[in-house]
Every structure is written in structure tokens, then in C-alpha cells.
Symmetry: C2
Subunit: 436 residues, 2 copies
Amino acid sequence: VHPYEVIKKKRDGGALSADEIRDFIAGYTRGGIPDYQMAALCMAVFFRSLSPAELAAWTEAMLHSGDILDLSDIPGPKVDKHSTGGVGDKVSLALAPLAAACGVKVPMISGRGLGHTGGTLDKLESIPGFRVDLSTDDFRRIVRDVGACLIGQTARLAPADKKLYALRDVTATVDCIPLIASSIMSKKLAEGIDALVLDVKVGSGAFMRDLERARELARTLIQIGRGMGKRVTAVITDMDQPLGRAVGNALEVAEALDVLEGKGPADLTEVTLVLTAEMLVLAGTARSTVDARALVERAVADRSGLKKMADIVRAHGGNPDAVTNRSLLPQARTQVPVPTAASGFVTGIDAEQIGLAALALGAGREKTDSSIDPAVGVVLDRKVGDAVKTGDRLATVHANDASRITEAVQRVATTYQIAAQPPARRPLIVERLDAA
Amino acid sequence: VHPYEVIKKKRDGGALSADEIRDFIAGYTRGGIPDYQMAALCMAVFFRSLSPAELAAWTEAMLHSGDILDLSDIPGPKVDKHSTGGVGDKVSLALAPLAAACGVKVPMISGRGLGHTGGTLDKLESIPGFRVDLSTDDFRRIVRDVGACLIGQTARLAPADKKLYALRDVTATVDCIPLIASSIMSKKLAEGIDALVLDVKVGSGAFMRDLERARELARTLIQIGRGMGKRVTAVITDMDQPLGRAVGNALEVAEALDVLEGKGPADLTEVTLVLTAEMLVLAGTARSTVDARALVERAVADRSGLKKMADIVRAHGGNPDAVTNRSLLPQARTQVPVPTAASGFVTGIDAEQIGLAALALGAGREKTDSSIDPAVGVVLDRKVGDAVKTGDRLATVHANDASRITEAVQRVATTYQIAAQPPARRPLIVERLDAA
């Protein structure tokens, strides 16, 4: 197969064969096909999309570019959750222990963040001693014995995706549903899971701004997963403002612990419980989402989720006391209140601006080799729908570097929209899909 | 300007500013912008096209990536002709001396061929001693003193186009009218011309298969040229079969000499005279195409065109006697007739197959560093519309390497279509455009 012919065929709207796709992706991963030919193909895919058959072949080619974990010797259903991401999304931190406490095996391979705040791994590393760079053997052992393990992607899982994502990122071909979906699924299917719950975020703070695009992504992800023989459910959830109140690594860990103690913010708690319940249904641990929800709520009430979190922290080399003693988590030296100059109702909080405020404080990475300050971030004391009076505290900036405070406060203050009338309520759990 | 933003803007159908285009092309030419970002941008341009303003900026950026010849010190109008190319197109070889004989200055910078047969330069080099690698000073002198000079593109003229064309060639972004048009015009405008005649080929043997696309290309080329203050006329000519009878370097030179002597094939003679007449009109040498035609016909009849060809050959270091003594041109050792097995009328000759037959004999390059055999090729003894009887000679294969004869004969024999009824006549000169 000549790479030129493959690009031309896709460009002209033709259907690529599984062989053509496999050879192209394998050639690209090995370096025989140069970046510029893959860039041209990705842009052609942006305009022409991929058929279900092409998408399956594309994802399989990416999946088979590296190792695929085999967890079949671990008893019980292995279920993971993937979120398309958004500011303040720390759901995994509470969901993994809750699902494990309910008997589900959770082999979770996560990414690090670039921009805004850290990824799940960065958040976990704010727990003293917590290590995410475990071997595959340790990963397997912890999933089996503890029930959940959260590690970083290794170079051996879906290397094609790693290389391709870096290319898409600089060629304006990220924002393309078949390429997004095959990227997500190739990494998740490499984990050796039996089933997957997808949290597809929609709204101004999410990658998918409108519901139709979110639905299309959800259906595409389900279609790929089903095609590979996996059970997949997708939940579309609202991301019009940051999820929960905390944005910043240790601050988000603390908030996830609040959820495990039954005292988390309502929105974060609801999304966490809904997604965990879906995992239980897919695992066969519960017959219905209603039954599953009851099991998850019990794991909060009896603190078995919190206890499981301590077990996970211990297994990862971290200090399990930090789970109950918050003073063991990193604390920022300065807390600066952000007051409002107006009275009325909060009608909008731009999630991206809050993320950029946290980034300015040092909570995220501007470049892949930047270091993260685990203690800093922003806590939203008021959220959309809350009533405020002039002088009320809207949010609190947690800072270590005084020179970075001004930009953060400025960004937070100006991104709050205050109006005389309360905003229309938006549903938090927008839609549940279990068929492509 | 961030290259990513430029790609994304074009991908999403936005209009790029002249600054964005200039910076992107300059960055690419210098190497600061990598091939993969240019490949993505070209594919986005394939789908989104370029507006007239973007196209002007793109062409100017390519033009200004290198030197622009200044021939303003040479008296008289400088006019060139460019053809989009096709098998058997040796028009330039007769047109340049005819136009020069009529007083037009013809500064012609040509390419070498890849595939099929050689380019104009390769054909000229089949004349003993003819050199095309002249200095800019020699080029200027010969244009001034002789009236026409034909040299190869230097690395200093439109280097952006050279680099971009190589990239487009391997990323399936050649077949894109704005990119084709800006490539052609950036090279031609670098020649320091005042006016340009375009021969846009249409038909199964041309790059543009249908008239609508050919018209679009012609209009786009005219639009760019006019925008740069040049006089431009386009003629759309038929290329449904090879032009003339000869395909192969020295064979084509001989046929061009036939045209200069007034005994060339009708189709080649007509296209040559029409295009040369257009050059005279643009140069102001004639007031109308009718007057111009009469002047060009006189240059054939009084052999001043042939004499001018001898002058050009001499100026290029070649043996001018070859112009009148054909035995001085390279001759192939073997002439193999290709007979027909059917009677009726020739209804079609696939130009590409004839080109591939010539390539198989060694008349063209399979790779950029292949060497060419100037003597070999194919002569079409019968053309579309001719009546044939079983056993008649359809064509003659001129070969030096006996091992290559079989493939060539096979290709020629099978590409002739013979039917009981004569084909409908196709107009040779399809259309003339002088406004975008």
C-alpha cells in the first residue's frame, strides 16, 4: 500500500480498507511513514470522517501498536471510567475507591495534565509519598488485592496514539470526533478492561460545546467499544462551570475525600455517584442503576469507600493518614479572598478562566516539562445560581508565590457573571446512552 | 502568528490575512515551520480553497521567497507561454522561435519532466551540444540579442514553490486549483515577464479532465496574473490524445522542426500558431489575433522561425546544423511497427498509456535522478478519426534496448480503440479566456 494512495483515497471520500489503515498506522509508528503524510491524512479525516468499519480498523491498529494488558487472571469484572475532561473534574479520585469498595476491579491508566490543572496522576501525587510510576506487575497485584490502581501511561501502551496525539496537537486535527474517539478507546482497551463508563462533558467548559457533538462523540465511543466486545455506557454531564468547588491538585484531593465522607459539593457528589453506579451495573454487581446507586451510597455512609482510599494510598506508597488528616496534604501559604462588587445571582463562571487562574498560580503545566505546585489553586465559594451581596466572597485564591496572586484574582473576579435574575437551571446529568 | 492558529483558521473556513500567509510561507521556506504543519495547511486548503485575496498573498509570498529577474533593461515586451502539460506537448520548441522571429522577447524558464517523457529542457538537450544550464547573465543576453532563451529553474527562483511542490507531491495535495495556480504563477512571475499566454489542457490526457475544472484553473491563473499587473490570456486546448505524432525527446524536436518548416501535424501546428499569435497580441506586435496569425504564418512560410531556431540553438552551445539536418539528432537503433488487428476507425488513444510506453523505452524518468535516452519513443502513425484496415501500422516504437520493446509495443497496441463508426469530432481549440 502506497501512503500517497491512502491519503488521496480518504481525501476523495473513498473507504479505506482495514489493511490500508493498519499498514499506514504501523508504518507511521515505526517511522517509515513521515509526520507530513500522517498530518495530511488526519486533515483529510477531519473533513471526510471515518466510517464505522474504518474507525474500528483505525482503533485496532492503534491498540495493537503496543502491548495490551491481560488481566484475565484477576477474578471479577474489570471496569474503568474515562472522562473527556473539564476544569475541577476530580471524579476518578472518589469513584475508583467507591467502585472498588463495591467489588469492582478498577484498572485505571491516566494521563498527566497539560495546561489548567494537573491530571489525575498529578492530583494523586499531592498525597505525600503517593507514586504513580508503578510496574505492570505492581499494577496487576494492586488491582487484584486492593481493587483499584491508578498509574501513568507507559510508552508500551498504544505508542501510536502517543505519537499521533502530539502530531494532531500541532496540526489542528485534535478537534475531530473519529480521531478523538479512537485515541481514547485505543488507550482504554489496552488496559485489559471488560467494560467502560464514559463521562462525556458538554458545555462552555468542555471540549464538546454543544449537545449534538457530545452525543456524536458518545455514540462513536460506544460503537468502537461494542465492536471490540466490551460493555460500554456513556453519560453526558454538564460542564458549563467547574465541577465542584476546588480547582488545584491537593485542593481537589481534599474535595474528593469530602465526597467519600458524604460531605462533598452536590454537583461533584452526584456525578461521582451516577458514574460509579454505572460501573457497578456494567460489572454485574448490581442489576439496575437504582440498586447500584444504593450500594454506592452505602459505601459512602459506612465509610468503606474512604477506607478503600486509604488502602489505595498505602498500596501506592503514600501516607494513608492523609485520607483522614487533611493537614498532611500540602497547604498554600496565602489565602486571598475574591469579593464581588455587585449583588444579585451568579449566572455564569467561565471554567476555562478559572483553569487559567489556577495555571497562573502554578497548579498546571505551561509546557510538558514544567513542574506543578500541588498546594495552590482556586476554591469557588459561590457557584452558578447562588445569591450574592456586594462584598461577599466569590472565591478564594490559594497561593504560594505572591507575584502570581494578582493575575489569578483578576481572572477569577472578572469571570463571575452576576445578574439581577437567577439563571435557568441546567440539568447536571444530561443524558445516558448505552447504544451507539 | 502561531502556525497552529493559521491551520485551524483555514480548516474552519476562515480567511487568512496576507500577514499570516506571508509568515507561514516564509517560515516554511526557512525551515522554521515543519513539513507536517504545511501538509496539514495544504490539505485544509484542498477542502476550503483560497479566496482571491488569499491567493494573491499566497502567490506573492512564494514569488518573494527568492529572486525575481528584472529584464526591464531589455527593450520590447517580454512574453512567455506556460502549458499545464500533456503527452506529446512540444509546442514551446516551435513557439519560442516563431514568437522571437516576430519580435517578441521570450524569457522561458522550464522544468524537467518526471514520468512519461522529458520536459522541454530534456527535449532541447537531445540537440547535440545544447546546454540549458546557463547563467542569469547569459539568459539575459540571449533574450536581448536572439529573442528567446530556454533555461532550467534555478534554486534561487521561487524556492518556496520547489519545496512545497515536493511536499504536495507526497501528501495528495497536488490536485488543488489554488495551489496549482499559485505554483505556476509564482515561477512565471519570477521570470520578469510583462505578459503570459496560458495553454490549459483538458481531456483524458490532461491534468484537468473536465472543461469546468480547466476553466476554473484558467480563470484562477488569469486572476492572479492580472492582480500582479500582468497581461494574461488563457487558451483551453484539447488533450484527449497525444498532441502531434511524436512522443520522445529527439522525436519531438524533429516534429517541432516540422512545424517550423510548415509540414507539422495539423493539431500540433494549429495549437502552436494559436498560442504564438496570442503572444504577439499581448506583446502589442499585432492588433488582433487575425493580424497576429498572419504574422506567425509568414514566419513559417519565409523560414524566419526556423532560422531563429538555429540562432537559439547556436546561442545555447548546440549545433545549429541539426535544425536542418535531422540525421544530426539522436536516432534509435530499432524501429518496431505496431500493427492493428482490427478494421474501422481509431476512436481513442489513451495519452497516459502512450506516455508510459515511452517511459518504458527510456524516454522519461522514473525517479528524479534517472537518466533519459533522447532517441527513443513512440510515433503515432494513426490518430483519432483515422480509418484503419487490419494489418495497418498504428504506431512505430523507436527503441535502443531490445528488452524494453515488448512492454512498449503491448501498451501502444492495447490503448488504441478501434470501432466501426468514426468518433465525434472534438474541437482542438476549446475556448479562449482573457478575463478571470
